[in-house]
Amino acid sequence: MVQSPQAYYVPAQSYWPIIGAIGLFGTLGGTALLLYSLQQEQASLLAQIMLFSGILILAGMLIGWFAAVIAESRKGLYSPQLDLSFRYSMSWFIFSEVMFFFAFFGALFYIRVFAVPWLGGEGDKGLANMLWPDFTAVWPLLEAPNTDQFRPIKAIIDPWHIPLLNTILLVASSFTLLAAHKFLKKGNRPKVKLWLGITIALGLSFLTLQIFEYFEAYNELNLTLESGIYGATFFLLTGFHGAHVTIGSIILMVLLLRVYQGHFTGEKHFAFEAGAWYWHFVDVVWILLFTTVYIL
């Protein structure tokens, strides 16, 4: 049936959502069951099966659903209005991610400005130091108030080595992505592939270095999740950021694949832009992170 350009595309029934719900349940329920069973000191097989199949279903759903959307889009079913819907959704989704990180940054702020100084005897509630007479407040916190439970850190990560390098990599990747976008608009596809490829390479190098840094933290610096609040906030923020870089890289790879497939035109390439927004968002988070977690 021919659609008038004004009509809004309302898909009929779809299997993907319910598959997605099952997949999500498998993934999260499986994780919960696994952690639960580990707490009882026996890794449950059921949990592993559930988790594994959950992830598979979820991945299958994402691939299938996106494939369907891409196919519909390429069939020309989507009006400019729908395109705008996608844009709004993506921006609000990124806003929700911003709030997720906002909570973590807020926690870091609270810990540094209030909790740790109080425990160390400074500020309005410094009386708390009565309970931790051996504790002094410094940041980064090398020694937690209770050093039996939380093992001290030997040294902190020097921001001017790997982290600085990583900053340069990520900031550069934002620019290379901008370049790719520019060439996409101009229709220069070989250049798009080149710059997008470079962006992905930069992202992956970032991740490699990050893994290396974690490795060093655990093995040499004794900076771990269990080493008190400094380690906890460090891994929480960098870890979730790293997870987002991973997702971002996967998105960019899919985009590259689609460019190779001949998708996108100079005017219509919302998926590309959405991926780019996400990537820039991840980059901005890193810059905040680099200043507040590593430098300050």
Binding site: L119, L127, A128, M130, L131, P145, Q149
Partner: protein, 371 residues
């Protein structure tokens, strides 16, 4: 009007046995702070009442007069900037009027300086510890209501759930500063008559102060959900004259010395068992249950427990040091050597546990001193 209605209803439903005077308002209390809070509460309540009467008055008047069945014709006006501004400004003015006295009271409540007596209050699951700073005196305060009353097997006494074994004793007319903290989860120390409610947060210290005008017994409860027995950790404060307070202090110190001396005494198996049963009932039964059966997944059974049947040293170790991260308190800090010896002896020889062992206070003392 509604209150009246409610009162009548309750009078009708009232079963004759349980009658204790009906209370439906905040107590004015026995300190300056509590009285100014009571004043604030009443003022704001009356303001709210007036607002409610005006707003509902207009509404019900319209409902009554402007109904279709009375032939009311709808006007079509739908806004007036002037009115909107008026009813934005009036509430702001009212709020400012409320904020001024509230701020004053709050500032005063936060002034903990120049206290005469400092008491550290530590919340434990599910009891309070009071330490008189500078006096070398500290003790636990545990619910005194019997299980029979709670389980409806005995008539409830008027202080049901609000009575403890060792009340906190303080003098009147002195500025008392409280330092609140906790040993495990967050609790909140609340005595309505003193208008003190402060959370006891593990690892941190909160402060409050009071100066009591009138001698008497003031009761309160833990006010922050702290687990299973949150309903059963009351507070009892006995405010006495300064002289009585001094006497009481001396008495307590003498008691403490006698207790220390008893570690040296020779204790027979029977003595330890009887003492142990009491201590078990008071300190351990909340978690491990009176019959030693525990609660699955939360608190291990002691009846047949490998630790209670195994080497004495392990048993002493867990009771003295606890396993805080799992929820087992360190009783070395809470009980005397005699008590610990008694309770361990009791656990090793009760229910189906028949080790025949005896753990002496001296043995426990030795372990405790090693730490």
């Amino acid at each position: 009007m509604r209150q009246l209605l409610q009162l009548i209803c309750s009078a009708l439903v009232l079963s004759p046995g349980t009658s204790v005077a009906l209370e439906f308002n905040m107590p004015a209390g026995v300190t300056q702070t509590s009285q100014s809070i009571y004043g604030l509460h009443m003022t704001i309540f009356y303001i709210c009442l007036v607002i409610a009467i005006v707003v509902f008055g207009v509404m019900f008047w319209s409902i009554f007069h402007h109904r279709k069945s009375k032939g009311a014709k709808a006007s079509q006006f739908h806004g007036s900037v002037l009115v909107e501004i008026i009813w934005t400004i009036i509430p702001i003015v009212i709020l400012v009027a409320m904020a001024v006295p509230a701020t004053k009271t709050l500032v005063d409540m936060y002034d903990t300086s120049e206290s005469d007596i400092d008491i550290q209050v530590t919340g434990h699951q599910w009891k309070w510890h009071y330490k008189y700073i500078g006096e070398d005196l500290g003790f636990f305060s545990i619910l005194a209501t019997s299980k029979e009353e709670i389980e409806n097997r005995k008539k409830k006494n008027p202080n049901y759930l609000l009575e403890v074994d060792n009340p906190l004793v303080v003098p009147i007319n002195k500025k008392i500063r409280f330092l609140f903290t906790s040993n495990d989860v967050i609790h909140a120390w609340w005595v309505p008559d003193l208008a003190i409610k402060k959370d006891a947060v593990p690892g941190f210290i909160n402060e409050s102060w009071t100066r009591i005008d009138k001698p008497g017994t003031y009761r309160g409860q833990c006010a922050e959900l702290c687990g299973m027995h949150h309903a059963f950790m009351p507070i009892e404060v006995k405010a006495v004259s300064e002289d009585d307070y001094a006497l009481w202090l001396d008495e307590q110190k003498a008691l403490k010395q006698a207790e220390a001396a008893s570690t040296e005494l020779e204790w027979s198996q029977e003595q330890l068992m009887t003492a142990g049963a009491k201590i078990y009932e008071k300190n351990c039964a909340v978690c491990h249950q009176a019959d030693g059966s525990g609660i699955p997944q939360a608190f291990p059974a002691l009846n047949g427990s490998p630790i209670a049947l195994g080497p004495k040293a392990d048993h002493m170790a867990i009771v003295i040091q606890g396993r805080l991260e799992k929820g087992m308190p360190a009783f070395g800090e809470q009980l005397s050597a005699v008590d610990i010896a008694a309770v361990i002896t009791y656990e090793r020889n009760s229910w189906d546990n028949k080790t025949g062992d005896k753990v002496t206070p001296a043995e426990v003392q030795a372990v405790m001193e090693k730490q």
